[in-house]
Every structure is written in C-alpha cells, then in structure tokens.
C-alpha cells in the first residue's frame, strides 16, 4: 500500500506538471488574446514528432533544444498568418480556425509518420533506474521530466512576475492600446507570446514523447483533458491551472493504480440479474473509470462553482 502511494504520488505529480506545462501556455494565450487555442495539444504532438525525427538525425540533446523552437516558429506563423487575419470575424471564428488546424495537423502527422506509434526512445544517457523504492525501480528519465517541468514552471513564474518583459506582457493582457501608445509593438508581443506558448507545448511533447506513446492520436487524447484543466482551475488563472493540473494528474494516476470495484467491496451481485446497467456499474473497476474522472470533475465544478477553482469571472 505504501509502495502504491509513493509511486502513484510521484507519477501523479509528474503527469500533473506535464499538464501544467501545456495548460500554462494555453492559459497565457487565452488570457492574452481571448483565443482558446484548440490546436494547443496538436503543438504538443508536433513537439513529440519533431523530437523523434530530430533525435534520429542529430541525437536527443540537440532535438531537446531545437524541436520546441521549431514548434514555436510554427505557432508564430499560425498567429501571424492565421489568427491575426481571422480576428476581425470574432473569437468564435478564431476558435474554429484552431479547431480546423488541430484536425489538419493530426492528418498531416499521420500522413507523414503513419498511424501506428513511432519508436521514440528514452536517450541512453538517462536510461537507468534512478532509485529503488519498495523493490520498484524508478526510471531516471521520469526524474529528468520532473526537473524540466519544475524549472520551466519557476522560470515562467519569475519571468511573468519579476521581469520587465513580464510587466509588458501582463499590461498588454489588460490594456493593449495603452501598451501600444507607450511604444511597444502589441502585435509582435502577441505573436511572441503565442510562439512561446506553442514552444512550451512543444517542449512538453519532446520530453513526454519517449515516456508516453508517440502517435498521431496523442493530441486528440490529451486535448479535451487540457480544456478540463483550464475550466476547472478557472479560465485565465495561472495558479488555478497549476492546482487543477496537479489535482487531475494525481486523481488519474491513483485511479489507474486502483483495481477495486463495487463488486470487490460489497461482493458480487446475484447472477440472476443478468446483464444490466446496474451490473455494469457494479463490476467496473476504478482503473476503468480513470479516463472519465476529469470530465466528472468538470461537471461537478460547473454545478457548484461555475467560475472554476480560482477564477474570478463567470465568462
């Protein structure tokens, strides 16, 4: 039991930090431009595939640096040549543009790399057990992922709260025209922020790729959970996204590790009842309902606290 708790906590925090790496970019972009970037998870997937391809060509460490930059460039292109032109048609058009983009990116990725998972492996340098807890070896690569996530988190926080760049970005969030009058190029700030947000997603993809499965449906699997995170945390709230990411990461990891069902607690149902929704619910294990838990959380938070955990406004 203690083993399960320690390992699940570690994995949960790791998954949570990865979610935060993704949702931080999404949240900053959303609160800045009011655009809900549907293609954010697709940038994450692009990061993983660029990472895989560059690792094969030039090795993991150059890929670790280059792939997020490439994704950032793609993101800037999307902002400059897509979103900026669509802005005049309103936020729904922008949302639809990113929706179409997510669809197209998935198709392009499966066209180039195929629909089955690619062989994106942990670099040999990090392919050893870091430590052993209760006879389970905990891989060093996961520690590396955790460290990268934490470093990015702190760097993001410090940049936004303590530096001049963060000051201008934060001001541009709320008063774009005022910042423009002060001589800053607001359009370029938007483009750069979008690029940085996409690069963060790309970085998450590069480091998560070897640990999770790198294939063309990884964006579609993660995308909806990302939206749950930012609605749950409160739209536009970075601390909210942080708490929600960790919470959802932990809940999902623990749920996957638990094998109990109502039947295992209260005993099996009378077999004469046959197959019915009741027997389905009775026999389903907690591990099986792990995928739907985030959405259950979403519904609950909407009923009891519509602005999300740390959100300040309703819409």
């Amino acid at each position: 039991m203690a083993e399960l708790i320690v390992i699940s906590t570690l994995n949960g925090v790791l998954f949570g930090m990865l979610l935060f790496l993704l949702s931080s970019g999404l949240t900053v972009i959303f609160s800045m431009m009011g655009v809900l970037n549907f293609a954010h998870a697709s940038f994450y997937m692009l990061g993983a595939f660029f990472g895989y391809q560059l690792t094969r060509w030039i090795g993991f460490w150059p890929a670790f640096v280059l792939a997020p930059l490439l994704v950032g460039v793609v993101g800037m292109g999307v902002e400059r040549y897509g979103l900026r032109n669509t802005h005049k048609h309103g936020h729904v058009a922008e949302l639809l543009l990113t929706f179409g983009l997510a669809f197209a990116i998935e198709e392009i990725v499966s066209m180039i790399w195929g629909k089955s998972p690619v062989d994106y492996r942990v670099p040999a340098m990090l392919d050893f057990p870091a430590f052993t807890v209760f006879s389970t070896n905990y891989p060093a690569y996961k520690i590396f992922m955790l460290v990268v996530s934490v470093v990015i988190f702190i760097a993001l926080l410090v940049t936004l709260k303590k530096t001049r760049v963060g000051l201008i970005v934060q001001a541009a969030l709320t008063h774009p025209s005022m910042v423009g009058h002060l001589g800053h190029n607001v359009g370029r700030i938007f483009m750069l922020v979008f690029g940085v947000g996409s690069a963060l997603a790309g970085l998450a993809g590069v480091i998560a790729g070897p640990s999770l499965v790198t294939q063309s449906d990884m964006a579609a699997l993660l995308g909806p959970i990302l939206f749950v995170v930012i609605v749950f945390g409160g739209l536009g709230s970075l601390p909210g996204a942080f708490i929600a990411s960790l919470l959802i990461g932990l809940i999902q990891t623990f749920a996957v590790a638990l094998n109990g069902s109502l039947a295992s607690v209260f005993g099996p149902l009378d077999p004469s009842l046959g197959a019915s929704p009741l027997t389905d619910i009775w026999n389903v294990t907690i591990a099986q309902i792990a995928p739907i838990l985030p959405y259950v959380l979403l519904v609950l938070v909407l009923i009891f606290r519509p602005m999300g955990l740390l959100g300040t406004r309703e819409s």
Binding site: N85, I108, L235, V296, V299, S315
Partner: protein, 430 residues
C-alpha cells in the same frame, strides 16, 4: 434588407410573392425528393441519398445552436448517438414484444431520446455561451463517449448493438427491407424536420434565439432570460439531432460508440460551417457537400480528411459566411444587373487559383504516396511521387499560383467594389 431601400408598395408585393416562393420551394423540395431515386436508381446513389438526408437533418439541428443561438457545440454527436441507441433499443423491444408500432415512428423515439438528454444536462451547460459553452460541450461529449464503453449492456461496447428493421410490423405493405423504402422513409423525415426547423426560426422563440446570439444583455433588459432561451434551443437541437440519429440507426441497423464520438461532432460542425450558418439553407448545402466529398474522396485519396480540414480552414479565414454567404452576397448584384461586370475578373482569378489548388493537391499527394510510390493522376497526367520533376511542378504551381492569384484577387475586389457601388446607387444594398 432590400426592403429598406424600396418604396412601400414594392414591399407589400414582395411579401405576397415571398409567400408564394416559400411554399413553392418546399413543394419543389418534396417533388425533388420523390423524383430523385427515379432518375438515379442505382444502389450506390440510393445509399448516398440516404446518408445525405440524415446529414441534412443533423446539420440543420446543429445550426439551431450555432447559427440561430450562437452556441458553438463540440459535442453535438452525443444527442445524435443517444437518439440512435434509443431507436435501436426501441426497435428491438418492438420486434420482441410484437407491439403494433411501425418503423416510421421510430425516429421520433430517437428524437425524444436526444431531447431527454438535453433536458437533463442542458440547464448546466447553457448557463454561459461562447468559449465556455464550447469547452463544456466538448467535456460532456467526451464524458458520454467514454462512459458508453463502460456501460456495455446499454451501448454494446466496441461492437455496438444491432437490430433488424424488417422485424417490425409492416406499414401499408412496406417492410422497409429494400433501400428504396428506407430512402423514402428518410426523405419523409427530412422534409418534415426541415419544415419544422424552418418554422421554428419564424416563431417568437426563434427570433429571441437570434437576439440572444446577437446581444444577450438587451434580451435580459426586455424581460427574457437568455439562459432559458439557450436551454430551449439546446433541447430543440437535441430533438432533431436525435431524429437524425434514429434514422441513421434504421439505415445502418446498428448503433455503436462511434455515433457519439468527437469525429461525428466535428463532421457536423464542418458541414454546418462550410455550408454557411447565417442562412437556413446553408447547412443543407454543407451536409450535401461534406457527405458527397466523404463518399467520393475516400475512393480517390487516402488523406481525404486532410482536404476537409483545409477546406474548413480556408472557409473560416476567407469566407466566414460559408458557401451560402458567398452565394447570397451576389443577390443584390444580380438584382441590380451589375453582376456581369464582376464575372470577367472572376474568370481571370480562377486560372491562378486553380493552379494553386492543383499545386497543393500535388504536394499533399506526393507526401502521402511517397512511401508506396503510387502514381498521382492529376488532370490525366500521371505524376510519380518520388520523381524530382513532380516536386518541381508542385513548387512552381504553388508559388507561381499564389503570387499571381494574389494580384488577380485584388482585381476582383476592385471590380466588386465598383459593381456594389452601382448596385447601391440603384437602390439594392450590397
């Protein structure tokens, strides 16, 4: 809009002729639905017509949300799928108990299923519009789609639940075994649903929905609750989506979890938006186009979904009104008789645009078939995907086409401005 610029008697005349065209259009639609299978009687075209009919109801129901009320839903397939599942279960129950319920009533049961789901979850979902609603609908859609794999006894797991439409009591000697009878059943429901949904746009509720879309605050000031209006619209959309789902269940004789999934929700969004959400007939055009492309392109290319995505992005960026919007923009020019001045510039712009499109198709197919090495047949010319000449041709077409098209489209805009000014002078608002 045109009424404002024309004198009062002309307005009255237009209204009476409007009523005539109104009934005329529905009558024509009914005749077309009856006659179509007599002209195109092959099994393949009957199947396509049936699929298009289902897609039309589904896309129109989606437009109650997106076009009428301004709610962008990413989970509309949930109501469609639940309607389908309820219809399948109803068919099985009717067949096993020998109840005297004929097949044509089954879609109604599907509709009630879709509406019932909307009744339960709609109140929480429709509290807010815009981005928040979009995300919640996505979450609810994922929740139901994932739950359907857990509740195996109801949803049949991955394989789904099958039924037999001929096991129900025949009606007027029709057993609904042959596809032609199923087609007429679908056609009947298409006409009924389309008229009902059009009538809905003309009711006070439909008008208030438009007002909620445009300015919810003012709706609140005049004493309506936008939340209730959105909730009602959501239920009606769920009802008609359920009818479409029920028809799909009858057509395929199976309902599975793919009915509820994100792909289905995405396709209906594509259909409604590509067709155009601002006009009632927009989603109909979109449903026809998307279903036709889906059926036609799958035989030609392995990456047909990518073309969908690209068409959608192009529409969002350059023609947010969809195909219906593009068509209706020309109406004042036709009335003022100035369309002729624009057409030559269109023809000039068409050539480089076509080159650009062909270049893009060639590039995509080159990448898609690079591994297999299958030749690309474009306008009767066979291109080998591994040959550098193919890449060069694609590059020339894309770059050259783009540069020339940019200039010619600027010309189109100028010609358009001139034509629109003349039209405006003659009293037709463009």
């Amino acid at each position: 809009m045109t009424n404002a610029a024309t004198p009062a008697p002309a307005v009255a005349k237009e209204e009476s002729s409007g009523a005539l065209t109104f009934y005329g259009v529905w009558l024509l639609a009914a005749i077309a639905l009856v006659v179509l299978p007599l002209i195109f009687s092959s099994g393949g075209s009957l199947t396509s017509f049936s699929l298009i009919g289902i897609a039309i109801i589904f896309a129109l129901s989606y437009n109650i949300l997106l076009g009428q009320t301004g709610l962008l839903s990413f989970g509309h397939a949930v109501q469609y799928g639940l309607g389908g599942f309820l219809a399948v279960h109803a068919m099985n129950a009717v067949a096993s108990h020998n109840w005297p319920i004929p097949l044509p009533v089954i879609p109604l049961i599907g509709g009630i299923g879709g509406m019932a789901f909307a009744l339960v979850v709609g109140w929480v979902m429709t509290k807010r519009a815009g981005t928040v609603f979009a995300m919640i609908s996505l979450g609810i859609g994922e929740l139901v789609a994932s739950s359907s794999l857990i509740l195996r006894s109801v949803f049949g797991g991955e394989s789904g639940i099958t039924t037999d439409r001929t096991a129900l009591a025949p009606m007027f000697g029709w057993t609904f075994g042959p596809q032609i009878q199923v087609y007429y059943l679908i056609a009947f429901w298409v006409l009924i649903s389309a008229i009902a949904m059009y009538a809905l746009t003309r009711t006070p509720l439909g008008r208030i929905c438009n007002a909620v879309r445009d300015n919810p605050e003012r709706v609140q000031f005049i004493g309506y609750d936008p939340h209730v209006v959105r909730y009602l619209a959501y239920m009606f959309a769920g009802f008609f989506a359920g009818i479409a789902g029920g028809l799909a269940a009858i057509n395929f004789e199976i309902a599975n979890s793919a009915y509820l999934g994100a792909t289905q929700s995405g396709l209906v969004l594509f259909a409604a938006f590509i067709g155009g959400t601002a006009y009632f007939f927009g989603p109909i055009l979109g449903a026809i186009l998307v279903t036709y492309l889906q059926l036609g392109l799958t035989n030609v290319t392995s990456v047909w979904q990518l073309y969908f995505g690209i068409i959608f992005i192009v529409i969002v960026m350059f023609a947010p009104g969809g195909i219906a919007g593009i068509l209706m923009k020309h109406r004042p020019l036709i009335r003022a008789g100035t369309l002729g001045t624009v057409i030559p510039s269109y023809l000039v712009a068409a050539i480089p645009t076509l080159a650009l499109v062909l270049g893009i198709i060639l590039s995509i197919e080159t990448v898609a078939r690079f591994a297999s090495g299958d030749a690309i047949n474009l306008l009767g010319i066979a291109f080998v995907p591994t040959a550098p000449t193919t890449w060069a041709a694609a590059a020339v077409l894309v770059v050259g086409g783009f540069l020339v098209a940019r200039i010619t489209w600027r010309r189109v805009a100028e010609a358009w401005d001139r034509a629109a000014t003349v039209a405006r002078d003659r009293g037709y608002l463009a």
